[in-house]
Symmetry: C2
Subunit: 259 residues, 2 copies
């Protein structure tokens, strides 16, 4: 390796990086894990896994069930979201407006931010109809598969959004989740034209999603406000008439100032 590479290496602490991989082994499908499962999911050596799991337990990040010897996330995981949400000025700015919108519409209201090729939900105001997964802050889903992601993409320069549509990953959440990149391109162009994005059946069957981008002071998108409703009770026309105007008003009022 070159001198430049070597320079990078001496500022990188491998033990920390490996330990963080244990934290990332837990997700919506892996609530608790034993040492062997942790080693498998992280690709780490068994002894290393034992050391890192023990350290995370002693520092309070993992709880250990002494009977089953399985580890699970502790409250410290939740506390990290608390620190994140305080550090994100858009969240502070948006929260009261999202709550107001939720009160007005009586439907699920979210705010998501672009993160690589995904969006991450940073504010979630649930209603009666909201599934558990859809109530949780921190959920990450592919941008191309969501109205929120498409609303954000729609505000990027044309060549940039075209590259995103061609290259970013897709995931199938329902039998109807769109995997057709041409179709997604059409939907993003439509969103660029309308100023909001519309989706149906993407994450949940019979669920309509509509999202509007939040534009930063620099003209770049920073987030999207999203509303989801049941297709059993709503049509696109009704959504455009009764929800979209308020959604756009809310999104437009959440423009973060220059720091």
């Amino acid at each position: 390796m070159s001198t430049a590479d070597r320079k990078q290496d001496t500022l990188f602490v491998n033990s920390l990086a490996k330990g963080l991989r244990l934290l990332e082994a837990f997700d919506e499908e892996h609530h608790s894990l034993g040492l062997s499962e942790l080693a498998k999911r992280t690709g780490l050596d068994k002894s290393a896994t034992q050391r890192f799991a023990n350290t995370l337990h002693q520092t309070g990040y993992l709880m250990k069930d002494e009977a089953t010897r399985r580890f699970r996330p502790s409250h410290k995981f939740a506390e990290m979201a608390y620190a994140y949400l305080w550090s994100d000025p858009v969240v502070q700015l948006a929260m009261p407006k999202l709550i107001e919108l939720s009160g007005r519409l009586g439907e699920t209201i979210n705010m998501a931010e672009l993160s690589g090729s995904d969006i991450v939900y940073v504010a979630r105001i649930p209603c009666q109809r909201t599934t558990f997964a859809a109530t949780l802050v921190g959920r990450r889903v592919p941008a191309l598969n969501t109205s929120g992601g498409r609303a954000i993409l729609a505000t990027l320069p044309e060549t940039e959004r075209r590259a995103c549509i061609e290259n970013w990953p897709l995931t199938r959440f329902t039998p109807e989740t769109t995997q057709d990149r041409d179709r997604i391109s059409e939907l993003v162009e439509e969103a660029a034209h309308l100023g909001y994005s519309f989706s149906r059946n993407e994450l949940i069957l019979k669920e309509i999603g509509v999202a509007a981008p939040i534009i930063g002071a620099d003209g770049r998108p920073v987030a999207a406000v999203h509303c989801s409703v049941s297709a059993y009770h709503w049509t696109r026309e009704k959504v455009e008439q009764d929800i979209v105007p308020f959604l756009l008003d809310t999104a437009n009022s959440i423009t973060p100032s220059v720091r």
Copy 2:
């Protein structure tokens, strides 16, 4: 150090533990930090801080503003809460019931769990009146200072709760926050008698809190359902008449089964 101490030491990875301290340096008052501030807040050597910050940046946990050279939490912080919330069966069980209660009462509804001498909020259903801090999952506050904490304590055996009241820390959030342990003891005894806890002016002036414990299958408390309302619009009598019955019904319906 004895052989037993040495045994413990070789399974503890200091570099990981130190790196985690950097993550914990961010909170509601520290949204972004430079290297010197990180070193101060963590007690780590300047070079170590540089290495850990660089590693957390490269692994995606911290974002770095190249202009100001300051670090801030990334979406990975929020994602950790997502993993935690899936791993906590009480949260999954409770969420729809809390949403229903919120719809019925139109006020702020939370669920908090005991964590050491604190409570940590793991579900938050805000309303129009809710302050930003009170909308955030992962917030940690001293148990003795909150109706939720007292509701939980009230269900512990008498000697155990007495020890907690005598020893656990208190924090003053408002000029009216109770620091009188005798008074807290009275309030906890009252909660033991009533089955719910009542507070006023503790975290926010002119805010009334009322909480009911959620008891696990083993008879131990696991969490508390909490409602907060404005003292401008509510009295204790009115809360006891219009909120407490529904609060108790909700708390009683969230009893996690034996695993």
